[in-house]
């Protein structure tokens, strides 16, 4: 590194005050000496100093007020029990995975006991017990899936989506959780997996309308394209105006717009 390169690297730190530390006194001294001897670097330092002299705008009081309103609204929303807390009857979220795991273990244990009991029981009674236990195990699986969808790790949430997609039936809690993931999950991978899981349940009108409503919130072109594919597969007439809007809106990624045009050309819309 030449002397001038070293000086250029040190200049930002010099003006940020980082070279004021006692352990960096030598570097500070070296820089001052170099600036005194090198016109080029002295010019850069002067420009750096002038930049720092540019005035800054003051924040207006309305900005603070607007923030306070937003924060108050957010806190009020937090104070209301969410779907997950209602589901667990107010149990603390931190215990949710533990509760889900315990329920899973309980379900498996009951299944083992029932299998042993079934050997001696009459066939009809066994059939009813097995059906009841199957329902219980299914409920446990749902709880486990919902728990995973709430985890901080994106991998866990991905697993939750995968688990949800394998569950039979049309549990509105699972559907709501998947739609929530699609709309709010920070990971585009999780959102993409949620689209796939929801596509398998798209026979439900609520899912289809949820997908249409979630589309404008998406920022990832990959997720947008996956959603467009789902609209084509379901031929949802309610999605058609959205597709037409996307195909015309220059704010969308060109590939997404192109895909919307392609989607509208697919047979089966009428």
């Amino acid at each position: 590194m030449s002397a001038c390169e070293r000086a250029e690297t040190l200049l930002p730190e010099f003006f940020q005050g980082d070279l004021e530390a006692p352990e960096r006194a030598e570097e500070r001294q070296w820089l001052r000496q170099h600036l005194a001897a090198c016109g080029e670097c002295a010019g850069a330092a002067e420009m750096w100093q002038r930049l720092g002299g540019l005035p800054a705008a003051a924040a207006r009081p309305q900005q603070r007020q607007r923030f306070e309103e937003m924060l108050a609204g957010y806190q009020a929303a937090l104070a209301r029990p969410g779907w997950w807390e209602r589901l667990l009857g107010g149990a603390r979220l931190a215990w949710a995975p533990v509760a889900a795991a315990l329920l899973l273990a309980a379900g498996a244990g009951l299944g083992w006991v029932a299998r042993g009991a079934g050997r001696a029981a009459p066939a009809a009674a066994t059939s009813a017990q097995v059906a009841a236990l199957q329902r219980e195990v299914e409920a446990t699986r749902q709880l486990a899936a919902l728990s995973l969808l709430q985890q901080q790790s994106a991998n866990d949430r991905l697993q939750g989506v995968s688990y949800s997609s394998r569950l039979p039936g049309n549990d509105p809690r699972i559907e709501q959780a998947l739609l929530h993931s699609l709309e709010y999950d920070p990971s585009s991978e999780v959102r993409l997996a949620a689209v796939d899981a929801l596509a398998r349940r798209a026979a439900q009108p609520g899912i289809r309308s949820g997908l249409v409503a979630a589309f404008p919130h998406q920022t990832s072109p990959l997720v947008q394209v996956a959603m467009l594919d789902t609209f084509v597969e379901t031929h949802d007439q309610n999605a058609r105006p959205l597709l037409e809007a996307v195909s015309r809106d220059p704010a969308y990624n060109p590939q997404v717009r192109q895909h919307a045009i392609w989607a509208l050309q697919q047979p089966g819309w009428n």
Binding site: E5, T9, W48, L51, P55, A56, L71, Q75, Y184
Partner: protein, 194 residues
């Protein structure tokens, strides 16, 4: 569960906490402490957007958007890291999303008229006006790296984390941007523009 806590009750304890401690507490559920972070960072954040060409209205909207995103994605904050780096990463994405959504509309001033005029324009130094104009004329990526380095006082490695590039690359880019700014400024001085 977190209850609603009046902002006035954020209190002196919050003022004594550093950014990382505050954000870690926000992440853990004490969302009222975000008020202290807002107080500390709203002005630098506003000026970040203004210096990158936002109008006053767009800049204020973006500041609000950044703090909404901080709340929304608070679980992704890593305690022990530097809050400002994370915040400017969010701010940069918010700005890019804004530009993407508003493309073709007029609320983003591509030509850039400095909207951080000093309170008393009559007393503003000619050199400051020329320098602001020279900064405005820099290509987007060069203006951005100078703003992050000089005005937001982020270190090279932090800027690298925000822009997604190596520290060495940041040093080279800062150097080139500063040189181009000097050239643009000197050209304006010679032409006597104001």
């Amino acid at each position: 569960m977190v209850g609603t806590i009046p902002l006035a009750m954020v209190g002196p304890d919050a003022a004594a906490m550093d950014d990382d401690a505050l954000m870690s507490a926000v992440r853990a559920g004490q969302v009222n402490l975000l008020a202290e972070l807002f107080e500390r960072h709203q002005r630098p954040l506003l000026n970040y957007f203004l210096r990158l060409g936002a109008t006053r209205t767009a800049g204020e909207d973006l500041v609000q958007d950044v703090f909404v995103r901080i709340l929304k994605y608070r679980a992704t904050y890593r305690p022990g890291s530097r809050f400002a780096t994370w915040m400017y990463y969010i701010a940069r994405n918010a700005r890019l999303d804004h530009l993407h959504k508003r493309r073709g509309e007029v609320d983003w001033d591509e030509a850039y008229t400095p909207s951080f005029e000093p309170a008393d324009a009559a007393e503003a130094a000619q050199e400051q006006r020329l320098l602001a104009l020279a900064l405005a004329r820099l290509p987007e990526e060069k203006r951005e790296i100078l703003v992050l380095s000089r005005f937001q006082e982020l270190r090279h490695e932090e800027i690298g984390a925000i822009l997604g590039c190596e520290t060495g690359t940041v040093k080279v880019r800062v150097h080139r941007a500063l040189r181009e700014l000097r050239d643009a400024y000197q050209e304006l001085v010679q032409r006597g523009e104001a």
